[in-house]
């Protein structure tokens, strides 16, 4: 990891955190988890339903953000894998007689395989071209799924009693999804903190440098794309529990765009940002759609404010000042990117 040790000034690289500073996030995390687990007994059913979606979208957004915020690869195509995950469960049930859990286990595998293939092509393009080629993949899959009515159910999607009956109630469904989300997020957290995660961030800041130091950045990004695809697919399979089925729109670029929105609203330079984004976006969206006739106007307005006023997303506001400075070198320079 010579690359990064060089990049981070020694003074701020890894200051031994005070024990309290290390404990606090853990405690906060545990408290949040306890609160989330107790939620079904504290909040209204409609909030549990939103939470059910948040569980799936948090995994989706964090997995997408592995590319967007960490590697600097803005993908508008993660919906492909989200949709693939959902359809693996429903079509596996319909065509191959797979049980829900068999389909669920298969989803990340298929997601990874598809991502590896798509990544081979898409990663040849850079920056905005990458964003748009992934968008094209999203739309291509959407069209194909919508048109092959015989196999995929077309625009009507596949809505069938594929989810085990005991998970149909909001409380059980939510608690199951919460468990899966926590496990998936822990795995992703480990990835973020690993050398692989650090290298990804380094490649975002200075691709040429990482390349010069002997890492094949294309391969690094392909690996990230594959891993992200697997987790996005897992998130799609989780979404079936909420949605009780799969539909073609899950492949659409607007689904992919949701992951980007959540990452940016929450803060794409942190691990927790997309989770916060998933919360705020989903609750905001659900409330607005139900109760405000001009919900798009309000959603757009708030999004605009966040983008203008909070470049680092809402998670930046929730982060303690010390931490911000600690990781300053590694996580903030995107602001300076404009400079020559």
């Amino acid at each position: 990891m010579t690359v990064l040790e060089e990049k981070i000034p020694p003074a701020t690289a890894r200051p031994a955190p005070r024990p309290a500073a290390r404990l606090l996030p853990l405690l906060a995390g545990a408290a949040a988890l306890a609160l989330l687990a107790a939620a079904p007994y504290l909040v209204t059913v409609s909030a549990i339903l939103s939470l059910e979606q948040v569980a799936a979208f948090a995994v989706f957004a964090v997995a997408a953000n592995l590319l967007i915020g960490q590697a600097g690869l803005v993908s508008f195509g993660q919906g492909v894998f989200f949709g693939l995950g959902a359809y693996t469960v429903t079509l596996g049930w319909e065509h191959a007689g797979l049980s829900f859990w068999e389909g669920f286990a298969l989803a990340p595998v298929l997601g990874a395989a598809a991502a590896a293939l798509i990544g081979l092509v898409a990663l040849r393009a850079r920056t905005l071209y990458f964003a748009l080629i992934t968008l094209a993949f999203s739309q291509l899959f959407y069209q194909l799924v919508e048109q092959n009515t015989g196999f995929t159910g077309g625009a009507n999607g596949v809505f069938a009693p594929v989810v085990p009956a005991w998970m149909e109630s909001p409380v059980e469904g939510y608690l199951t999804l919460l468990g899966i989300a926590v496990a998936a997020l822990l795995a992703l957290w480990w990835l973020y903190r690993s050398d692989f995660g650090l290298l990804l961030r380094a490649s975002r800041e200075n691709r040429a440098r990482v390349q010069a130091l002997g890492t094949n950045v294309y391969r690094l990004h392909l690996l990230a794309f594959t891993v992200s695809g697997a987790f996005c697919s897992l998130a799609g399979a989780m979404f079936v529990v909420y949605n009780q089925g799969s539909n073609a729109e899950l492949f659409d670029w607007t689904t992919s765009g949701q992951a980007v929105l959540m990452s940016v609203i929450g803060g794409m330079y942190t691990f927790a940002g997309p989770v916060v984004g998933a919360f705020v976006y989903q609750f905001g969206h659900d409330w607005l759609v139900r109760y405000v006739s001009d919900w798009q106007l309000v959603l757009g307005g708030v999004l605009l404010l966040v983008v203008i006023l909070r470049p680092d997303g809402l998670a930046g506001a929730l982060r303690r000042p010390g931490r911000l400075r600690l990781s300053g070198r590694l996580e903030l320079p995107s602001r300076l990117r404009g400079r020559k």
């Binding site: 089925g245 659900d286 708030v302």
Partner: protein
């Protein structure tokens, strides 16, 4: 440090604004929308809640908006007559943006938070089939008054589902029947044109099948499937035009059909070819004087072909309230609420099981007469109307070209599958 704090505050302010605005609007909506809902929406007080989750934004918003108007007006009329089982009906509505996941979220909230006792249908079939999963599981009746995919009453059918529109089998069949009466055994060339997704494909397939059943002598010269909502369809039209068919069967609806008509007109397609399509009230109204005279239209509930006094009273009432004649979507939405209300009164209960049992096989009176609700699939036995677009505007003040009267009324038992066929499809 000071700078950081400033950022922190703006961030929190944005977050609070997001939640705050949502909550504030929610309160506002609850306050104004709940017309006399002082007892809360739970059905235990003076009100009972029904939900309409439909498409209120985007390309097909006009269908959802007028459908919602029909539902709201029906509830208001029932309330004006003292309500239902002594309770006032409260309508909660939400935009599904034509997305199944949003529809699911809306319906689950309507059921779990608002305690809605019945759900009224969305525009898109995909949203409808997603919502059926929820209402079936929670044993709440759902009345589909816009989306009409045959799959909704076959593969995903349960006794809580009510289909209040002619389905995708009936509609093209009615058009084919009308065509057969016009042709008197003459042989013709036909092209088809449909949006490239299940609704379009099914409708076209149904039409071809119906032509066979009617022993029409036809040659299929061209089939085009442009993407749904395509902006420019000129190359598809050019392909149709060059095939020079006698008839084009078009399975588009709403704005897409309007665009098709405009572009087909510029190719002079209507001079040599008759178009058969869903030239319903909304489309004809959008087209105004650009309506394709002589084209064959079908409509699920054209108000102008029904001269009974109940319908004309309804049309007057609707005009007075919304300043416009009711579209088929409004009429069917209104009738669907009437059906449900009839079921509640006869069951003397709001429970899904009781209402379903009361309605199954019954013939409730609605503004569309008293069609039976078929017991095997809960399809309302509605006719489908077919007519020829008139050369005359409706009146000097209204440039809309309606149909020549009398319109062709394809009877239900002529155009739908039999119960035996439906039951087979239901597995």
């Amino acid at each position: 440090m000071a700078r950081f704090n400033a950022q922190r505050w703006t961030g929190l302010a944005a977050a609070l604004l997001m939640c705050g605005s949502a909550a504030a609007c929610a309160n506002a909506a609850a306050g104004t929308g709940g017309s006399g809902g002082a007892g809360g929406g739970s059905g235990s007080g003076g009100t009972v809640t029904i939900g309409e989750s439909t498409t209120l934004s985007g390309a097909i918003a006009s269908l959802g908006q007028t459908g919602l108007q029909g539902v709201q007006l029906a509830a208001a009329d029932i309330n004006a007559k003292g309500g239902l089982l002594g309770k006032q009906i409260k309508v909660v509505s939400a935009d599904d943006a034509a997305t199944p996941a949003t529809g699911v979220s809306n319906v689950r909230t309507m059921l779990d938070a608002d305690h809605a006792v019945a759900i009224f249908g969305p525009v898109a079939s995909s949203v409808a089939s997603a919502e059926e999963q929820i209402t079936n599981a929670q044993q709440i009746p759902i009345f589909l008054h816009t989306s009409n995919d045959i799959g909704l009453t076959t593969t995903t059918y349960s006794k809580y589902v009510f289909q209040d529109v002619p389905n995708t089998v009936m509609e093209p069949r009615a058009a084919a029947d009308y065509l057969a009466t016009q042709l008197h055994g003459k042989s013709v060339t036909i092209a088809t044109f449909a949006p490239n997704y299940s609704f379009g494909q099914d409708t076209v397939a149904g039409f071809i099948q119906a032509l066979k059943a009617e022993n029409v002598h036809y040659t299929l010269v061209k089939q085009e499937f442009p993407p749904l909502g395509a902006t420019d369809i000129s190359s598809y039209l050019a392909a149709i035009e060059s095939a020079q068919p006698d008839y084009v069967f078009n399975a588009q609806f709403g704005g897409d059909l309007v665009a098709f008509t405009k572009q087909a007109e510029s190719y002079g397609l209507f001079a040599k070819t008759k178009v058969i399509a869903m030239y319903d009230y909304s489309v004809l109204q959008s087209l105004g004087s650009a309506a394709p005279t002589g084209a064959i239209g079908f409509d699920r509930a054209p108000y102008w072909t029904d001269d009974n006094s109940t319908m004309s009273a309804f049309v007057d009432e609707f005009r007075a309230k919304y300043g416009d004649a009711p579209s088929e979507w409004a009429i069917l939405g209104y009738a669907a609420v009437q059906q449900w209300a009839w079921g509640v009164e006869h069951a003397k209960s709001f429970s899904g099981d009781a209402v379903s049992a009361a309605l199954s096989g019954a013939s409730p009176a609605t503004i569309l007469g008293s069609p039976q609700i078929r017991a095997c699939d809960h399809q309302t036995e509605l006719p489908e109307y077919v007519g020829t677009v008139s050369a005359q505007a409706a009146s000097s003040s209204d440039p809309t070209h309606l149909w020549d009267t009398p319109a062709f009324e394809a009877q239900f038992d002529q155009i739908d599958y039999s119960c035996a066929q439906m039951t087979a499809l239901q597995k």
